[in-house]
Symmetry: C2
Subunit: 340 residues, 2 copies
DNA sequence: GCTTGGCACTCAGCCGGTCGGAGTGCCAAT
DNA sequence: ATTGGCACTCCGACCGGCTGAGTGCCAAGC
């Protein structure tokens, strides 16, 4: 039905104009700036229909129309094909990220890159390690009864814990424990490693059971604590300037950005299928962030999504552009993790 | 001279009222709210004098007066005695900080505490290690030619580096190197350790020189890299709401808060003499932060100042209260570092 | 020599009214 | 289904007057 198509074209035009101008858009301006091939009056009829269906609304009588969350949703779902990045952009992204020296640096650079590309507030979650594996466990004796447990994971992260044992351990005993420990958890995924550690003390010489239990607990703690810590990094908060109202929008968002738990919830579960997730306004889990949208994507080595990254911005944002940027960055970061 | 004293009292009253009300304060309101014992006319004369001397100014003719940076400076230097914390406050601070489990946690909690106490943006610098000492160096063989160098410092921080050596090392050789290495750097300050490492390869058996050089380089790198990294943590940005103008004040500050180098410059050199440093408006190093003040204090174990913490806020802030909070937190954090 | 009351003056901010323009909805014509 | 015409609405800008807080100055008083 051709009229239905035109209505969608009108909606698209409204969204694009509103995003560009930040002002309610009227029928006349619309036909001037887009090749719709019809008169303002026709557009008015279409707008009335779109308003009835809840896709647009007018701030007050005799003003132009503004997209609703539902309108943005339709726009994102059906009226958008993600613009591919230009070659120059791709090169810029990859060269910027390739300069990273370690995982921390990758995360830092990703945040910076994302916020600059999208001119929004960027959020990058540290890779969770639930899918990563234990590369090596090292026991270092500090004093006769104090051990340093160093845990090295396949992502390159290192965790350490100090353990007090009741009885002093000889170097030989330490070597034995180290060997068994690595046999138990080496190469395993985090979740498997934790499970395996439960039974660890049954494998060692009776005299070492007490120490083994302590050590196993420390390793398990280091592992799970780290998994739970789920750090996130935020950048580009200066871009908040373009968000509009301070009290209604900026302040709640600033508060959310400091609460990492909230942030993680906002980013949502990572899905690493090459797609970006868009959460628009009230669709998100927090009602005081009703005027902000989240564009996120999962990333990780191979096709595992081990973390999310994305941006937070006003519902009135350039969705095609941001989606393209987020997707591109997620892909490049994944590729870097592949190589590591 | 009694009239001079009264002028100072007037200045103090102006600062206090302006901080409280955020509005220019006039002569009449002043005599009503403070026991100055003189008439508004007299106060007007005093105000005129204070204005001549540059301590206050009026936003426009026929408005009340507002303190200038110079006025705040005088207020802070001569009209303020830092209010001691109440017992309850002290207990709250110490119990909140005592719950920290490690250095990271101490820093996190300090930021949160500071921002809540002062209702400003809090900034805490990680302890720099230039004054801290090397507690232990551990060498862990990962594969025959790959070593993990783990460095433990007196502050509790741990750094690690991976080193590739040309020739495989036996366990005995490793033990020898480990021993010599600890003899060389153990207990030394970072700066001394770096110096001592220069000559490290001369002390070992000729066959090990190559490996020793590599390892020494890694240790030196870990040490100095970490010293340079100088991380800072920021919190309480939601308090920016009370800062006034977005473009003139909040935005530049948000930008500064993301640039850690800038932040460190803002915090300034730590002086750990129990005093707080106050930098008011234009006194700071950045002219686009002319309407913000910094209240900072050094902290660290013993009487060494190894880092700074503080808050950033509008020049119009409650200096006595803020100074008290910053000082108190710096002291408690120092005490915690003492114990560790 | 300070201090004080009086007085004229200034000016930001509020209030109310007017006006223009952008935009709408509806209707009749095609 | 589309279009031009038309009456209507209402936001926001503009204007002028008013008010009140606050000042500076001066002459009188302690």
């Amino acid at each position: 039905m051709v009229v239905e198509d035109r209505r969608l074209a009108v909606l698209r035009a409204i969204v694009e104009d509103y995003v560009a101008t930040e002002e309610p858009v009227g029928s006349k301006a619309l036909v001037e700036r887009h090749q719709l091939g019809v008169s303002p009056a026709t557009v008015r009829n279409d707008m009335a229909a779109l308003e009835d269906e809840g896709f647009i609304t007018q701030p007050h009588t005799s003003a132009g129309r503004v997209p609703t969350d539902k309108g943005y949703r339709l726009f994102v779902d059906r009226l958008t094909q993600v613009k591919p990045m230009t070659g120059a952009e791709k090169r810029a992204i990859s060269s910027f990220l390739d300069g990273a020296v370690d995982l921390d640096d990758v995360v830092q650079r990703s945040v910076r890159l994302l916020s600059q590309l999208t001119r929004q507030v960027a959020v990058v979650q540290y890779p969770t390690l639930s899918r990563s594996t234990v590369r090596h466990v090292e026991l270092v004796s500090m004093t006769p009864t104090r051990l340093l447990v160093v845990l090295i994971l396949s992502t390159g992260r290192v965790e350490q814990r100090l353990v007090e044992v009741d009885a002093a351990l000889t170097d030989d005993e330490l070597a034995t424990l180290r060997g068994k420990l690595n046999a138990t958890v080496g190469g395993r995924r985090i979740s498997e490693a934790i499970a395996a550690l439960d039974a660890f003390d049954t494998e060692v010489h009776p005299e070492l059971v007490a120490a083994a239990t302590e050590i196993a607990a420390a390793v398990a703690d280091a592992v799970s604590d780290h998994r739970a810590s789920d750090r996130v990094v935020v950048g580009g908060t200066a871009n908040l300037s373009r968000f509009g109202e301070f009290d209604t929008t900026i302040r709640p968002l600033l508060e959310a950005l400091e609460e990492h738990v909230v942030l993680l919830k906002l980013l949502g579960e990572a899905e690493h299928d090459g797609m970006v997730t868009v959460r628009i306004g009230h669709e998100g889990p927090f009602q005081n962030l009703a005027t902000t949208s989240v564009v996120a994507a999962g990333y990780g080595p191979g096709d595992q999504a081990i973390a999310s990254l994305g941006i937070v911005g006003p519902t009135r944002m350039d969705y095609p552009g941001t989606m393209a940027s987020v997707r591109a960055v997620a892909r490049y970061v994944s590729r870097i993790l592949d190589e590591a």
